[in-house]
């Protein structure tokens, strides 16, 4: 159904429409919002990982000069009687009730006109606990006697979580399985069997704008201004918590200073809503960088992967067991477990697949979505495993991949036939850029060089809905109303280009109205690289609807078809003056078939596939273990780019973010305490950590079901980074790292172990 772009608006490298406002410091952020009479709230957080709350002494904080109020869950329950929220499970209390389940869990809140006064007073709160043993490891959590939640409380919105309702005495928040073919038989008949276990660490998003929300209550209505990626979800969830209709809750966002999945679903919104209702004044909660580490993180994981290979080097079966460490509250973790779990066998053509993917509760800070939704953890394991097999069989890693790659039209593990997934082309383009067939400079002295490649893929989250409105004003100018949140990825620009393409306008003249649930229509959320595809279609449909209405108006006014009279003139003819609107609407929900509960199989697993791969050339200092990435090649299939320049920055941005998770970032815990919740101690990549060369390529491809052949790109460059670098390190110095991050310390330790063998 590909619609070809004719107006020239799609396919332009239009500079971001908000660029000027941002670089001149004029862009609007929630952090800058001040309302008359507004109070600042500061959070008192749990100092322990797991325990029953014996008491919370707030007397000293209440007596502190300048304090408006101090609240605990006792007060919260006066306005929200059942204050548990979450997108998959209603398991997270607004403030801790009876028990704390992770370090940094919010327990009490101090309100003052001055945020520093509130912060000072919050330090005077003292809580007493009966401490409980904490379970921190995802594999231990399966059998641990320490149970994080007494009873499982699925939200009811996802049919595949319903069977968990009321389950007791377990930390398993979801057990997803996929069964295809006869893996057992294939392992018995295999010429070779390989098994490895890989682990990833806990990291966090570190958007440079920490989470911030403001709420104001008035006349039985509530307005929430929030740095959120999902304003529609916030409205629905707040209305549910309050038992109100949706039209009494208004949620507005502004530009976000980064999101990456940190600002999804509910973060601070339920808390500010309750506080504004209790205080009867506007309330702002603005987190510090340190508090983000306690709010949402990326799943640590353990992945046991086992493959059967025949004499010809064909993979005949794969068994995958993945444990996802979801921390103390489920957030969207069960979706990560399922949506990513079904691709755990990798982009290979394997007849017999056996996958178990488990979401675990532990006593770590909660884990949710982070740029890739679990895929980078899986690709790390399966592409490291792929290289290990190739090396053991003495087959070139590229050749081994070519033998096994999942080609167009072939069934993926779920049984869904691959369509518009340029896996092979992405692999070949990386190999070509690396000059794989040519001799390679292996370095000299203490500095050894190596290269590696890796390819991953991801299904789009489904089914999800986007709705858009195009409003043509009396002078013919265009307003575009959509709830996609521009958090730096450039969605305002993309959506303007799509509307402009249909309406034959310059894209820079389209006004994109920012998310405001009183004004802009429903959108599931800005996540999982879904906006270009889903909202892109909704915007296209809304613009086409508007165009059809212009044509109908022209016909009504007796003009011949194709007369091309400017819209402003049509309005003047109809209304006798500059007046009127044409409103076009569009809504889009792709087709999708839920996987079978017992087998995980489905004929239609996803609206589209994202494909991303990485080539890496590294230099390893054998005396210090330091790894310098000389060349990082990011190649992806994102269909036909709506805006090639924005695609390029999404590719390099995603790759650099994953480079931090690959080589340096790790939340360090000791005795349940987090040792490095600050950018001073938790190091993210700086300019000096960047690869010497970064190359990005969008392969020539078309997503036939996408708007103008396009699909998402926000996550694709993250997939292959970690294993490509691990494979390159192995190529350089012959050591294999099985755990992230691959710090210089870890590489050096592996080199030392290698010497001893």
């Amino acid at each position: 159904m590909t619609v070809i772009a004719k107006s020239g608006q799609v396919g332009r490298s239009l500079p971001r429409v908000e660029g000027r406002a941002k670089v001149t410091g004029r862009a609007e952020y929630i952090h800058n919002l001040r309302l008359p009479g507004m109070l600042h709230a500061k959070i008192f957080r749990s100092p322990i990982a797991h325990g029953r709350i014996r008491s919370i002494d707030t007397a000293a904080a209440k007596a502190f000069p300048g304090i408006h109020a101090v609240f605990t869950s006792d007060e919260i329950r006066r306005v929200i009687p059942n204050p548990y929220y979450g997108p998959a499970f209603h398991d997270q209390p607004i403030l801790a009730i009876d028990k704390v389940r992770h370090i940094g869990e919010p327990m009490a809140v101090v309100l003052a006109e001055d945020s520093h006064v509130a912060e000072e007073a919050a330090r005077l709160i003292v809580a007493q606990f009966d401490e409980l043993p904490a379970v921190m490891d995802e594999v231990e959590a399966v059998t641990s006697k320490t149970i994080v939640h007494d009873v499982l409380k699925p939200a009811g919105t996802f049919p595949d979580l319903k069977h968990l309702e009321g389950r007791k005495g377990t930390n398993v928040a979801l057990d997803f399985q996929l069964r295809r073919g006869d893996a057992k038989k294939a392992f018995v008949e295999a010429a070779h069997v390989f098994e490895h276990t890989f682990r990833t660490q806990q990291v966090t998003h570190t958007p440079l704008e920490p989470m911030v929300s403001v709420a104001e209550a008035d006349e039985g209505r509530l307005t929430i201004h929030t740095a959120s990626q999902s304003p529609s979800f916030v409205r629905i969830e707040i209305a549910r918590l309050l038992g109100w209709p949706e039209n009494r809750v208004r949620v507005k966002t502004a530009y976000l200073g980064g999101g990456f999945g940190a600002k999804l679903y509910i973060k601070l919104e339920a808390l500010v809503a309750a506080l504004a209702l209790l205080a009867r004044r506007p309330v702002k909660v603005s987190l510090g960088m340190d508090e983000q580490f306690f709010t949402i993180t990326k799943h640590p994981s353990t992945f046991r992967i086992k493959s059967a290979v025949d004499q010809q080097g064909r993979i005949t079966a794969r068994e995958c067991e993945v444990w996802w460490n979801g921390g103390a509250y489920a957030d969207i973790g069960p979706r990560v477990t399922q949506k990513s779990g079904f691709t755990a066998a990798g982009p290979y053509d394997i007849d017999n697949v056996h996958i178990d993917s488990y979401a675990l509760y532990t006593n770590r800070p909660p884990a949710g979505a982070l740029r890739g939704f679990g895929i980078p953890q899986l690709v790390w394991a399966y592409e490291s495993h792929t290289d290990l097999i190739a090396r053991a069989l003495k087959i070139d890693p590229l050749e081994f991949r070519r033998k096994n790659i999942l080609r167009e039209g072939r069934p993926q593990s779920t049984g869904t036939a691959m369509k518009d997934a340029a896996i092979e082309l992405v692999l070949e383009r990386i190999a070509a850029r690396l000059d794989w067939q040519k001799p390679f400079d292996r370095g000299a002295g203490a500095l050894k060089r190596g290269r590696g490649l890796a390819v991953g893929f991801k299904a789009s989250i489904a089914p999800t809905t986007s709705v858009a409105i195009v409003n043509l004003y009396a002078d013919g100018s265009c307003g575009l109303y959509c709830s996609t949140v521009d958090m730096g990825q450039g969605s305002d620009t993309i959506m303007a280009q799509i509307a402009a393409e249909v309406l034959n306008l310059p894209a820079e003249t389209v006004k994109v109205v920012h998310p405001d649930t009183d004004v802009t229509p429903y959108d599931m959320a800005t996540l999982g690289s879904r906006s270009t595809y889903h909202m892109g279609h909704a915007v296209r449909l809304a613009a086409e609807d508007a165009r059809a209405k212009i044509e109908a108006l022209a016909a009504e006014l007796g003009l011949p078809r194709g007369s091309n009279v400017p819209l402003a003139e049509l309005f003047r003819k109809k209304y006798g003056m500059q007046a009127g609107n044409i409103v076009g609407t569009g809504s889009f929900v792709p087709s999708y078939a839920s996987p079978d509960h017992a087998t995980g199989l489905t004929p239609n697993a996803t609206p589209f596939w994202m494909v991303g791969g990485t080539g890496a050339e590294v230099e390893v200092d054998t005396e210090t273990g330091q790894v310098r990435v000389q060349r990082l090649i990011n190649v992806a299939d994102l269909g036909n780019p709506i805006n090639p320049k924005i695609v390029e920055t999404q590719l390099s941005g995603g790759a650099i973010m994953q480079l931090g998770f690959t080589l340096m970032e790790k939340m360090e815990f000791r005795d349940g305490q987090l040792l490095n919740p600050s950018l001073a101690d938790y190091k993210i990549p700086g300019m000096r950590d960047l690869p010497v060369r970064i190359e990005n390529e969008a392969v020539a491809a078309v997503q036939h079901s996408g708007p103008y052949g396009a699909k998402g790109v926000g996550e694709s460059a993250t997939f292959g980074v970690s294993p490509a670098i691990a494979n390159a390190i192995d190529d350089a110095v012959g050591v294999r790292l099985m755990e992230l991050p691959m710090t210089a310390d870890a590489v050096f330790a592996a080199l030392e172990r290698g010497k001893k063998r």
Binding site: E623, T624, G625, E668, L675, N676, D681, K683, T743, A744, D745, F748, A749
Partner: protein, 93 residues
């Protein structure tokens, strides 16, 4: 880390070796300095000075690295710094 080498002909008249970061506060590593003094500076001696520095430095472990690893960095980087100073600096006659 900083090293300074004053040459007298082909041998070392005076040397200073100072490290920070890996230890609690910047310190001179006098055993390495003593080892260098009066000797003809070659790669083997630089390596031995690195060993002496690593031996002497009271390295503390933290979230950025284990003590053993940081000692390795002292060992390697003292030797490399001496080499850089000797090759690129104006210490040599």
């Amino acid at each position: 880390m900083a090293v300074a080498v004053e040459a007298a002909g082909s041998s070392v008249k005076e040397a200073r070796v100072v490290i920070g970061a890996a230890v609690e506060r910047p310190v001179r590593l006098k055993s390495a300095e003593a080892l260098l003094r009066g000797k003809s500076l070659d790669l083997a001696l630089m390596r031995r000075a690195g060993e002496a520095a690593a031996e002497e430095a009271d390295v503390v472990a933290d979230i950025h690295g284990s003590a053993a690893y940081k000692k390795q960095l002292v060992r390697i980087h003292v030797a490399r710094a001496l080499q850089a100073a000797w090759q690129d600096g104006d210490a040599r006659p």
